[in-house]
């Protein structure tokens, strides 16, 4: 799914990913300048996030789809190996990979990541929003069949069912992520004393949990009638609640002392 540009085939998803990365990086650099942070550190953090993010997204995809993957065929030729590399990613795997990247950056390059995390929230949300536009154009992560007027109908998708009304989950998620990006940018500029990255993770876990009920691509991992992403979302939600309780207790004790 893409278009031809001077003889070269440009896939929609790849193009959207690149536009998302460029916009996210631009927003991040702008916020770095506003908050007087080192731009070079931000570039280093982003590079590791991209590398570990893609790796994490691919690993989680392999874990969730392992019953469907024919490894013998993948390694039988360079073409099938490249096809395997270029398709199949799960966002939550990327998020988990990103956490590993942040720990790695702190340990190896001794960069204090706390302030940069505040800037990463709107940047990651923005990149993710563009990625979902790419999903919408490519036809992946499609929604359930619906009879509602609020739908999306594919005509030539090789993934989503064609000529059928589908819930536009990719568009809904993209719109919500754009709103998150705007909100987090404003919170950064207003210098609000709140952990914006934790807020992003918290809000996204709720959004993803709800939207998963409207997803129609049944190839996702299913456990206890919940998809893999819903289970991860629920775990993240609980972790954030626990984090808030612990930090609240900690600050109460400090006040008492």
């Amino acid at each position: 799914m893409g278009f031809n540009f001077f003889g070269a085939f440009i896939p929609y998803y790849g193009l959207c990913i690149v536009i998302g990365l460029v916009c996210a990086a631009s927003l991040g650099l702008f916020l770095c300048h506003k908050k007087n942070l080192d731009v070079n550190n931000f570039i280093i953090i982003c590079s590791y996030l991209i590398a570990f993010g893609f790796l994490g997204a691919k690993i989680l995809y392999i874990i969730v789809s392992i019953k469907l993957i024919n490894f013998k065929e993948i390694f039988s030729s360079l073409k099938s190996f490249n096809e395997f590399i270029s398709s199949g990613f799960v966002f939550y795997g990327g998020l988990l990979g990103g956490f590993v990247a942040l720990i790695f950056v702190k340990k190896v390059h001794s960069i204090d990541i706390k302030e940069y995390l505040q800037i990463l929230a709107p940047s990651v949300a923005l990149a993710h929003a563009f990625g979902r536009i790419g999903c919408s154009l490519a036809g992946c992560c499609y929604g359930k069949v619906t009879s509602s007027w609020f739908c999306y109908i594919y005509k030539n998708s090789i993934v989503a069912p064609n000529n059928v009304r589908l819930v536009p989950v990719q568009g809904i998620e993209s719109a919500c992520l754009f709103m998150f990006a705007v909100l987090f940018t404003i919170l950064n500029l207003k210098k609000v004393k709140i952990n914006i990255f934790i807020l992003y993770v918290f809000l996204y876990s709720i959004l993803r949990f709800v939207l998963e009920f409207f997803r129609g691509d049944i190839e996702r991992g299913i456990f206890m009638n919940l998809s893999t992403s819903q289970i991860i979302s629920a775990c993240i939600f609980i972790c954030v609640i626990v984090y808030f309780i612990i930090t609240k207790n900690h600050s109460s004790k400090k006040t008492v002392l």
Binding site: I17, I44, E73, S86
Partner: protein, 86 residues
């Protein structure tokens, strides 16, 4: 480190553009990311011009490699179905 960044940046650009046609642009992207990291680290010291050159080449290689490679037939599942011959 600045010179390494520039050299790797140029190599990554060549790989991303050249191998991109064979759907192997992801190799250029990986080299590009390394060039970006080395370039950003070098920009903190001397030889900022060379480091910036490596950084820019790395960024272009990364973007080109992603466009050339990430077709995302499916974010999840359908790609696996195709690969398993279903």
């Amino acid at each position: 480190m600045a010179v390494a960044s520039l050299v790797l940046g140029i190599i990554s650009l060549v790989i991303a553009v050249g191998a991109g046609a064979a759907n192997m642009g992801w190799v250029g992207s990986i080299c590009g990311i390394i060039a970006i990291i080395l370039g950003a680290l070098s920009r903190k010291g001397e030889k900022k011009g060379i480091a910036t050159g490596g950084l820019v080449c790395g960024i272009i290689a990364l973007c080109w490699g992603v466009i050339a490679t990430i077709a995302c037939v499916s974010c999840l599942g359908a790609g696996a179905s195709m690969l398993s011959g279903l």
